[in-house]
């Protein structure tokens, strides 16, 4: 993905305002691509609205046993680290829900009895909203992991955008890492609660593992003591923006509106936020080239 500035928006947990920050950042940028990597619960397209212009299926290779060739040697069953194969009443059965598509059974089968077919696990939709190309990864309900959808999104998106905004999945598990590997900067969104601070710590640790510059956006602040703010101050995480808890903001979000289109002050704040991130990434790159 060849883009000037790649920003990943993260939160230790869903519901903290990741999509709020990501979708509004995309709207405020000039020519942006927005990648919704929250494939389990993608919500960005509810704000960056538009008809689906294109849809790409995401398939995974799944083993299929040719029973004419299989001699029930059990080698595939014994090899499978995920217990996705079993020998049941003299036949090899594949449990595709737990298969990781590693291909090991195919490699190990001495009879060449295992072929692979493509199984659809989800899709990527493209929409267009104003200045933003909107890509949404969608995992089919009942499927275990959307990692491959994220990988496909990150590798097949056309280049030439000024800014890419990556709306990451919540949490700090492996699926999140696929979404930030490529990012220049991580924005950590946090809520002013003990839960919020705890989750912020987890996701901050993750950015340290990847050595990514990061800063925090504190959402739903209410002027009271804020454990997330204290965490940021104690751990040198720059606070980039405060979004107060306000009924009108909460209404805009509930209705699926972008706050930068509704509130002049917030529109200016988001523009300043993007400018600041862009500066920090530039500084980082300069320091890097000087080394």
């Amino acid at each position: 993905m060849d883009t000037n500035l790649k920003i990943a928006v993260l939160s230790g947990k869903g519901g903290t305002g990741k999509t709020l920050v990501a979708s509004n950042l995309a709207k405020i940028a000039n020519r942006a691509v927005y990648l919704d990597c929250d494939v389990e619960e993608p919500n960005g397209h509810l704000f960056l609205k538009g008809p689906v212009l294109e849809a790409f299926d995401v398939d995974l290779p799944m083993p299929e046993v040719n029973l004419d060739l299989c001699d029930y040697c059990r080698k595939c069953v014994d090899f499978c680290a995920f217990n996705a194969l079993a020998l049941i009443s003299g036949r090899v059965k594949v449990f595709d829900k737990i298969c990781h598509s590693c291909g090991g059974c195919k490699v190990i089968c001495p009879q060449n009895a295992i072929e692979e077919y493509n199984k659809n696990i989800g899709k990527i939709e493209r929409r267009h909203y104003d200045n933003v190309d909107v890509y949404t990864g969608i995992l089919n309900p009942g499927e275990e992991s959307g990692t491959s959808i994220i990988k496909k999104m990150m590798t097949t998106i056309p280049s030439g955008y000024e800014t890419a905004i990556i709306d990451s999945p919540p949490g700090s598990a492996c699926i999140v890492m696929d979404s930030i590997e490529d990012a220049d900067y991580c924005v950590l969104v946090a809520e002013p609660t003990t839960f919020g601070a705890h989750n912020l710590r987890m996701v901050h640790e993750l950015t340290k593992v990847f050595n990514k510059p990061c800063g925090a956006v504190l959402n739903k602040t209410n002027g009271e003591e804020d454990p997330s703010r204290i965490y940021c101050m104690d751990n040198n995480v720059p606070i980039l923006l405060d979004i107060p808890w306000r009924k009108d903001i909460s209404d805009y979000i509930a209705e699926g509106s972008l706050v930068v289109e509704k509130d002049k002050e917030l529109s200016e704040s988001f523009a300043a936020l993007l400018e600041r991130i862009s500066q920090e990434v530039q500084n980082e790159k300069n320091t890097y080239t000087q080394r």
């Binding site: 509810l46 590693c102 490699v107 919540p170 492996c174 002013p192 993750l206 593992v209």
Partner: protein
Amino acid sequence: MKKILILSGKGGTGKTTLSSALIRLLDAKAYADCDVDAPNLHLVMEEENEPLKSDFLGLPAAYIDPAKCISCDLCRQNCRFDAITNINGYIVNDHACEGCKVCTLVCPSDAIEMVPRVIGHLSLYKNGHVFSTAELKMGSGNSGLLVTEVKKHLYVNSKNADIAIIDGSPGIGCPVIASISGVDLVILVSEPTISGFSDMERIIKTSEGFPAKVAVCVNKFDLHLENTEKIISYCSENGIPFVGTIPFDKDASSLINQGKTLADKDGPARDSIIKIMERSMKILNEGDN
């Protein structure tokens, strides 16, 4: 033992808030936090004693012995998780390795072995009740397996409890599927936003394949009455029991910041959770004779 699981499709809708209040109100002697990516229940349920901690081992990860490696590139070509790179020698990215062992299978020089790795920790509190929780090390996969362990720890250690409250994981992926299996009732906490509605539909679809009963409630319902109505009609159209609403309580954050639950303060939020509890218990017991 009857098992109630609280789910939401998304974090931040009030799963832990509702779970902790239900634990208090029902005086549950068994509870667990299955949000192993970002567990929070222990922050509200203050425990007197330290937990018993144990390591959670994931599938072993591959290790390439540089002395034996002949740089044939077969391991890299056959790894479907892009976990092997060749930068001044072949190395395995621990985070990306899923432990499938395919590399060991294709390596002609026997240079790869699988080494054990700790990918999380389980904690078990026993203070007259049993509280099972865990934390996955950041960047690890296998959260579904860890969820299953959390539940196993809970059940094995609380055989005499009547009811178990399980705080679920967000999303619809493997940890959620691992959370749902074996429970009697799922209470979905939704919120009156366009996102909340979309997430609820997806989690209802996910739970369809399971025998558990499903009920829905709306948290912070008064923030958007129109969307709340939409959720209620969706439930009635689809035959899903709707068990109630919880009003927005601006003191909720500060209560939680003090390590208290919504059941610890008299008021509309507590009253509404009691109603949700009563209706849920009725659904839970329906069909029992």
